[in-house]
């Protein structure tokens, strides 16, 4: 029982980590909490729904197409709504409100196009139950865990080992200096949004396959939980998001079994508010120095 709870929590946590990485990446570069990320996640899940259920193409094409479209949506959000604000050098509050507006637009358009009811999504990676002695592991969960882990490793390699990752880290440290070194800052920002959108699409597809439902508002709560995870681990720090995601996932799984399902969503908020009060920069966060 205890093992089962831990495993449930770890699976959920890995998926939250995937969403949280999207927040973290964008925050690292733009110092902006991308409020639209939750609705981008819901968008990804809906694209996967169209491909996997309406067109019957199977789960892997669904994943790939969803990654491409959601990544493009991420780039579009940046190009259409955020880039003009950067060029105008608006206050940070302006970008924040813009992303809230964008999230609202996407979420409600999804609702108009697909209807607000929950739609069935096929179970993914269903190969029965794997037995290890007394412990039985659901193969769906195992695969979700492994796929998320793989993607997180892949993202880390992109950021740490490739040239574009180097450019991303440079922009994160100082956009102006990076620009002077010949880095195309706008391209890097777009690429970051693509990565964020892609990871959100994967998370959306995995979670839809796990709970077997898709609905337009799914991004709101999931986005907030992932955001709690990102803040807990220290927003802008990649491995922090993973740890944060796991903590949020585990505590959610324990809360469901000890306090009942009604408090499923409340745990993440309690964690969020506690972290914000006690240590706003998160566990691994770097302290920012305000220069005058």
């Amino acid at each position: 029982m205890l093992f089962q709870q831990i495993f449930d929590g770890l699976t959920l946590g890995m998926v939250y980590a995937l969403i949280a990485v999207g927040y973290s990446l964008v925050f690292g570069i733009l110092r902006l909490v991308n409020f639209s990320h939750g609705s981008v996640y819901a968008f990804g899940a809906h694209i996967a729904l169209v491909v996997a259920v309406s067109m019957q193409w199977g789960i892997f094409p669904a994943l790939v197409i969803s990654i491409i479209f959601t990544g493009l949506l991420g780039i579009m959000i940046d190009k259409i709504s955020l880039k003009p604000l950067r060029e105008k050098k608006s206050k940070p509050i302006a970008a924040l409100i813009t992303t809230i507006g964008v999230s609202y637009i996407i979420q409600n358009l999804l609702m108009i196009i697909f209807g607000s009811h929950s739609k069935w999504f096929p179970k993914i990676f269903d190969y029965g139950i794997i037995k290890l002695g007394d412990i039985s592991i659901n193969s769906t969960q195992l695969f979700i865990f492994l796929v998320s882990l793989l993607l997180l490793v892949f993202l880390t390699i992109i950021i740490q080992k490739t040239k574009i990752g180097l450019a991303m880290r440079a922009v994160e440290q100082n956009p102006k200096a990076a620009h002077l070194m010949g880095i195309n800052v706008n391209y890097i920002i777009s690429f970051t949004f693509f990565l964020g959108g892609a990871s959100a699409a994967i998370a959306g597809t995995l979670i839809s396959g796990y709970y077997q439902v898709v609905y337009p508002n799914m991004g709101f709560i999931a986005g907030l939980k992932a955001f709690s995870a990102a803040v807990l681990g220290g927003i802008g720090v990649l491995y922090g998001s993973v740890i944060g995601g796991l903590v949020v996932g585990l505590s959610e799984s324990f809360a469901v079994s000890y306090f009942g399902g009604g408090y499923r969503d409340a745990v993440a908020f309690v964690i969020l508010i506690l972290v914000l009060i006690i240590r706003p920069k998160g566990i691994f966060g770097k302290k920012e120095i305000t220069k005058v």
């Binding site: 608006s90 507006g101 964008v102 009604g262 409340a266």
Partner: protein
Amino acid sequence: MKNRLMENVNNFIMLMEKKKSVKFSVYGAVFLVMLIIPKIGLPMFMVRIMTMIGMYVILSMSLNLITGYTGQVSIGHAGFCAIGAYTSALISLNFGTNFFITALLGAVVAGIFGLLLGLPTLRLSGTYLTIATLGFGEVIRMVILNWESLTNGPLGITKIPRPVFFGIELTSLNGGLYYLVWILVIITTVVIYRIIRSKMGRALMAIREDELVSKLMGIKTVNLKIYAFIISAFFAGLAGSYYAHMIRYIDPNTFTFDTSIMIISIVIFGGMGTIKGMFLGSALLISFPEVLRFLQEYRFVVFGLILVLMIRFRPQGILGGQSRRDYKMPKGVNLEKIMKEG
């Protein structure tokens, strides 16, 4: 075309600000029209829309104090509303207390929660604060949903008594609810106006422009931000309790994230940091789904678009921007004399 229109609007505002007689005659005319609206046989739903506009004026004015004047974006304002509504409804149902007392209690309880939410501002700023307010709004909703022994959970509270004023039950039919909300609007406007024209108001605006600098100037930014939160929550709670007694039914889904977004849309649309803007913004955004029926489905999309487009093309809102009023010198200071003497 658009520029001409804006120019005319600007000229009119300038005229109003410059000439006292124009200003007072416009306000007087508006006041008289407002006074007779429920009595001239307009359809019921129009009076009702006017009532809703009044409620949203209170809400947007309260949010304006923290977002427009202090620069702290809150998107959990519906939480305060819900607290006010539930407190007021539960007290009046369980103890049979008059609306005017329960509404005040509801507002005070919301104010206490405003203090609780204001406390994290000791350490948070900007985005983090916004998220905290969002989390706050959701936690309030979940507590209401799950605390069934007190709040009746998802079924909500029904048969909340209407406000009674010296034995007269205020209903939509006799226009009582309409007058009540606009009296509350006047009270709110006067209080907020006095606050922003006081030393505290100027300090709040200094915090909005640059928190670090205002701290260095000796402004107690932390205290002031918390005060702003308390006052804002108080009025949001007041509006919430009014709503509960007007509709006579509340449930956890009455005040959701949508409500918060609507309020902040009004604030941004009307013009952050203006009072007139709150009236205009509420009037336009509340009446537009009724006027443009065919857009009903796209209502919330339009709210999103308003947020994005306003921030992009006119961040100060319709009526925002720099005041064209001449700067009033303090008593005993004669600028010309000083200039002459060097």
